[in-house]
């Protein structure tokens, strides 16, 4: 399977199953399209030479090049991985990542919060140290030979349970050496409770921090309000700037959410850049279709254009020596994930779980609070074997809609939670998300092609 598209002066041909990316001229673009459609080669020579006013020999040479690439396994590659995906997720029962919901409460009252202001549709609660410690022990005990173990402090707002976060990090540091493990911590925060003590500890111990900011003041303050109805922008931005300045070259992301109210979201990304932030992420809102801020079909062309504007501007900034990073455009063509990862997906419900303040296990943070998806707990492990099987069997091949999609090895079937919320089961697809995803990948690859020329 191949995918061809033209963007910003680049003609790009993706060979789905080899992962190859070709940048071609107009004539080759048409030759490849004609060969893909099964047109007779003599006809291709006649048609293309006429269209471009080129000698027939020129077209024949191009056809020969395409045959050579095919022989090298870089074009028109057949699916060599068929049937592999279902087996992969049954190879191992190791767990390598936990999302610790250390605080099911929040000091902000953001209107669009999928976690219902941190409560995840349940009671407000803080995770105790004992529960967190057991979660870390559970992870280490079930991680097999995996060395890198990821733990995300999440909420609600995790800084509302800061002492427990610190104690858990220090506990992990005690046990990781003897166990030959390496805990990588991430903290996701709204910034309200940041101070120098928190910043210094995070900069020493957190592998990554995710800082929630939606961009321009009016955009941010519209939805990210406190319980008194006041926007949070002016209180958090100086703290985030201070945090990032002290962080040096350690990993962080400014993470925003865009909604129907700011479909011109590149202005928000550029605003973040103007504030001095360079590592940026901006996600489409996840919500019910009827919500006032929900993205609509009419928004799609606008969003597509925004992703193109973003790619173009990132290229300009890179050329000027002031690059910014956009999470969804971070694609390493030569050192990206292996085929196992691309077929298996994110690992929710198999190698990645969310842990509630009470120690219950859910497939991921987006399922927390939905009792149907309770998988077990950190003392007894995964006890809902039917659900475990369902997640183990969920992969890029389990979704019929993905069969002919060129992006299938870039998204591996997509987010199980989005699929469930959009289509009623984890093997459905979230078509709106697919459309945005495909556009992002097209832009990301175009950007790679352009960067290769710098």
């Amino acid at each position: 399977m191949i995918h061809q598209y033209k963007l910003d002066g680049y003609n790009i041909v993706l060979d789905v199953y080899s992962g190859s990316v070709h940048v071609v001229d107009d004539l080759a673009y048409d030759v490849i399209a004609a060969m893909d459609s099964g047109t007779d080669e003599a006809q291709i020579v006649a048609d293309i030479s006429l269209k471009y006013g080129e000698d027939e020999a020129e077209v024949r040479e191009c056809i020969d090049d395409v045959h050579e690439l095919k022989a090298q396994g870089k074009l028109f590659t057949e699916d060599p991985f068929a049937g592999l995906a279902p087996k992969l997720k049954h190879r191992s029962k190791d767990i390598k990542a936990l999302c610790l919901h250390v605080a099911h409460t929040c000091n902000l009252n953001c209107q669009y919060c999928f976690a219902s202001q941190g409560k995840f549709h349940g009671e407000r609660a803080l995770m105790s140290f004992e529960v967190g410690k057991q979660a870390l022990d559970f992870l280490a005990a079930h991680s097999g030979n995996h060395r890198n173990l990821e733990v995300d402090f999440f909420g609600g707002e995790p800084l509302m349970n800061w002492d427990v976060v610190k104690r858990l990090v220090l506990y992990a540091r005690e046990i990781e050496g003897p166990l030959n493990k390496n805990f990588r911590f991430t903290l996701t925060t709204n910034g309200m409770l940041l101070n120098d003590e928190v910043i210094d500890f995070c900069n020493e111990h957190m592998h990554n921090v995710v800082l929630s900011l939606d961009g321009r003041r009016k955009v941010h303050d519209r939805l990210r309000k406190d319980y008194a109805g006041r926007g949070s922008y002016s209180r958090i931005v100086p703290k985030f700037q201070h945090f990032v300045e002290k962080r040096g070259d350690k990993s962080y992301y400014m993470r925003g959410t865009f909604t129907h109210f700011n479909t011109d979201f590149t202005k928000d990304i550029f605003h973040m850049a103007d504030l001095g932030f360079t590592e940026l992420s901006m996600e489409p809102v996840v919500c019910a279709p009827g919500d006032p801020y929900a993205l609509t079909e009419e928004d799609l062309p606008v969003l597509y254009e925004q992703y193109e504007i973003l790619a173009r501007d990132m290229l300009r900034r890179a050329r000027e020596g002031k690059p910014i990073t956009f999470y969804h455009y971070m694609i390493s063509l030569d050192h990206g994930p292996c085929i196992y990862k691309r077929l298996s997906g994110c690992g929710s419900g198999t190698e990645y779980f969310a842990v509630t303040p009470w120690g219950d296990l859910y497939p991921c943070h987006q399922f927390v609070g939905d009792e149907k998806y309770l998988m077990g707990n950190i003392w007894d492990g995964v006890t809902n074997s039917a659900l475990e099987d369902e997640f183990r069997d969920c992969n890029v091949e389990s979704r019929p809609e993905c069969k002919d999609c060129w992006a299938r090895l870039y998204c591996s079937g997509g987010c199980a939670a989005n699929a469930y919320h959009a289509g009623g089961n984890i093997n459905a697809i979230y078509e709106y998300g697919c459309k945005l995803f495909r556009k992002r990948i097209e832009c990301a690859i175009m950007l790679q092609a352009a960067m290769a020329e710098l």
Binding site: Y17, S18, G19, S20, V21, H22, V23, L27, A28, C62, D65, V66, L69, G73, K74, T77, P80, L88, R91, S92, A97, C99, N148, E150, R184, T186, N208, V210, Y253, R255, E283, P284, V286, Y327, H328, Y329, I331, L333, D334, H335, G336, C338, I339, Y340, K341, R342, G345, C346, E351, Y352, H365, L409, Y410, C411, G414, C415, N418, F437, R440, A444
Partner: protein, 48 residues
């Protein structure tokens, strides 16, 4: 090739031989939290 420039990419078929160590980051643990995209994860296996 005159009309076709091929970018340096990972050979996915080859990665089936040496890949699968699982040391790479879990997709949702980095920045998105709401949409899976495995393509932007970095491989942590030098052989992969």
């Amino acid at each position: 090739m005159k009309r076709i420039k091929t970018l340096q990419t990972k050979d996915l078929k080859n990665s089936a031989k040496n890949g699968g160590c699982g040391e790479c980051q879990t997709s949702c643990q980095s920045a998105c939290k709401t949409s899976c995209g495995v393509a932007n994860q970095k491989c942590e296996n030098k052989k992969g």
